[in-house]
Amino acid sequence: MLSILIVPIRPVDHAELTSLIAPLTSAFEQSVSIEESHYVDPAFAFDSYRNQFNSTSIIAALLESYPTHQGKIIGITTVDLFVPVLTYVFGEAQLDGKVAVLSSFRLREELFGLDPNPELEHIRLLKEAVHELGHTFGLIHCHRPECVMHSSTSAEEIDVKGKNFCEECDQTIREATSTMS
């Protein structure tokens, strides 16, 4: 049975992860569960010079940890992620692959000197979770500004786009899930 597995990467808020289950289930029409037995410690991916965590290393580790999992895996954390050539990333995914990783670090309002806004931050996290998982289903960035697959490199850009796939991207997801199951 295909499913989406959410893997907590420390430190992370369990309640936050739980609240993602229902919306992700409806977005991908697959069962979504949280890895309860094993929380990943990302210390191995830490770059002391940059004071950030290498998302590419985390993806490699997750891939190794779940060799038999049938479906997609998304690691979620609150630490700041990077890929070597970029200053930061919200998340990273294997295009048409198995694993994605996502952080809420850059989605926080405090980062811009504003008061915390848990509700807004939760919506951002959800959009980015759908977005990164969308990549694992083979979707590339969509030119429609309302589509969740629209590229966003800033929190404002996440706020502008919608929570859902546009018709065309949705179609691609349906085709991908039907051939897999």
Partner: protein, 451 residues
């Protein structure tokens, strides 16, 4: 970001670090671009065979050929590829060097994703605009070229072929032909097909101006150089810098102007009227005349040295009566043109009217035909132009003058030949096989008047 439907834009990444190549490749693929990467300049140059690349991201510091040198090579291969330099060291010097050599911008590692995303979007947008601009220019010159000459006859095709051949060079061209044969059009075709086409073509009618006006028109003048010269004004030679100057009715210029013109053509330098500053201008000369310059040289009214300077490549445009098959084509072309301009649903020319036009001698050539069609369009009732819409003299001349006496026939014949030669006495006398004095006598005897 990128349009899903159109062919993906392409990005080439050149960096000696594997992790940089991998992460940027992945990042851009998720954006829907076609991406390839190379670890050094050699591999990058090989990748050029798989191009064209819309954008190249080049690491400045690499073993072997540096990013700066690679940029030069890439631009030699495809000058349209946009280049963004990547550097681990924020070296202002090398970045400035890259920009001077045509890089779109530069980024320092690690790159801010938001910045990179906008930079790439802008670089690709700019490249698209440049490309579009080139295409539009081509289309415009195609349109300009296509509409200008109508005619399928061998003579016209030969003229077009000669014009296209000479357009690729900077050779001075002399266009010979009767009034109204379309000398200026041919000049424009030559210009439109030349490498000078994005610069102006400036037409000067040398026959239409008195000497002093023509002088200031061609060379420009300084403020106060003559009464009424309130401002400094650039001359036509100066305005045609980079382009083409078309000197129409070159046979009509005075002796003094001929000397000045010769000097300008030889040196491409001149001074404005009333000025001392020597001005250089890079222009190509196309001139036109309907006069018999060779006879003018014999008479002493046209300088031989100027003649040889101008008469490098001559294109003779045949009069309309020597290419009658083109008459229907031209008539239909002008019929459509004026029907559209006057919003009249006149779509055809009656066979009777066409017959008259084909038989007519058209001393005024294409210009006369155009005027006749314009006039006919005013009179015509849809859907067709009838022979009654044509000017009276056209109908009568086309059917031949039935005269009774020898004298009347001689008068009509001389008049026709004069017409055909644009009242060029020497040429008419040649054709009539009489000397010029006799011709003058006959003209005054029959009371013929220059039109």
């Amino acid at each position: 970001m990128t349009e899903k439907k159109s062919a993906p834009q392409s990005i080439m990444i050149v960096d000696d670090e594997l992790i940089v190549r991998e992460s940027l490749t992945k990042w851009f693929r998720q954006d829907g671009y076609r991406v390839e990467s190379a670890e050094d300049a050699n591999h990058a140059l090989k990748l050029m065979n798989e191009g064209p690349w819309d954008l190249a991201l080049l690491d400045i510091k690499m073993p072997g050929m540096s990013g700066l040198d690679l940029q030069k090579r890439l631009k030699e291969i495809d000058k349209n590829t946009s280049v963004i330099m990547i550097t681990a060291y924020a070296s202002v010097e090398s970045a400035v060097q890259a920009l001077k050599e045509g890089a779109f911008d530069y980024v320092t590692k690690p790159i801010d994703p938001e910045h990179l995303s906008h930079l790439v979007t802008n670089a690709l947008k700019q490249r698209k605009l440049v490309e579009e601009n080139v295409q539009l220019r081509e289309q415009i010159s195609d349109i300009a070229k296509a509409n200008e000459i109508v005619g399928e006859s061998q003579q016209v095709q030969k003229v077009i072929e000669l014009a296209k051949t000479v357009s690729k060079t900077d050779t001075t061209v002399m266009l010979r032909g009767e009034s109204g044969t379309g000398k200026e059009l041919i000049a424009r075709v030559i210009h439109a097909n030349s490498s000078r086409r994005y610069f102006p073509i400036i037409a000067v009618n040398c026959g239409a101006m008195v000497e002093s006006l023509l002088e200031s028109d061609l060379f420009g003048h300084e403020k106060g150089s003559f009464t009424g010269a309130q401002f400094r004004r650039k001359g036509k030679f100066e305005l045609s810098d980079g382009g083409t100057i078309f000197l129409d009715e070159i046979g009509a210029i005075s002796q003094k102007m001929q000397v000045q013109l010769l000097r300008v053509l030889e040196t491409k330098q001149f001074t404005r009227v009333g000025g001392n500053e020597v001005i250089s201008s890079d222009f190509r000369v196309i001139c036109a005349t309907n006069r018999d310059l060779e006879a003018a040289i014999k008479e002493g009214s046209f300088r031989e040295d100027l003649y040889y300077r101008l008469n490098v490549f001559t294109i003779v445009i045949p009069p309309l009566r020597e290419r009658r098959p083109d008459i229907p084509l031209l008539a239909e072309y002008f019929c459509n043109k004026y029907a559209a301009a006057m919003h009249k649903a006149v779509t055809e020319i009656s066979p009777n009217a066409m017959d008259i036009m084909v038989q007519y001698d058209w001393p005024g050539n294409v210009r006369e035909l155009e005027n006749v069609m314009e006039r006919a369009m005013v009179l015509a009732t849809p859907p067709a132009i009838q022979h009654t819409d044509l000017p009276f003299q056209l109908a009568s001349k086309a059917h031949g003058l039935l005269a009774d006496s020898i004298a009347a026939i001689e008068r009509a014949h001389i008049e026709m030949i004069l017409h055909r030669c644009g009242w060029n006495i020497s040429r008419s006398a040649d054709i009539l096989d009489i000397d010029r004095v006799t011709l003058y006598n006959k003209i005054s005897k029959y009371g013929l008047k220059r039109p």
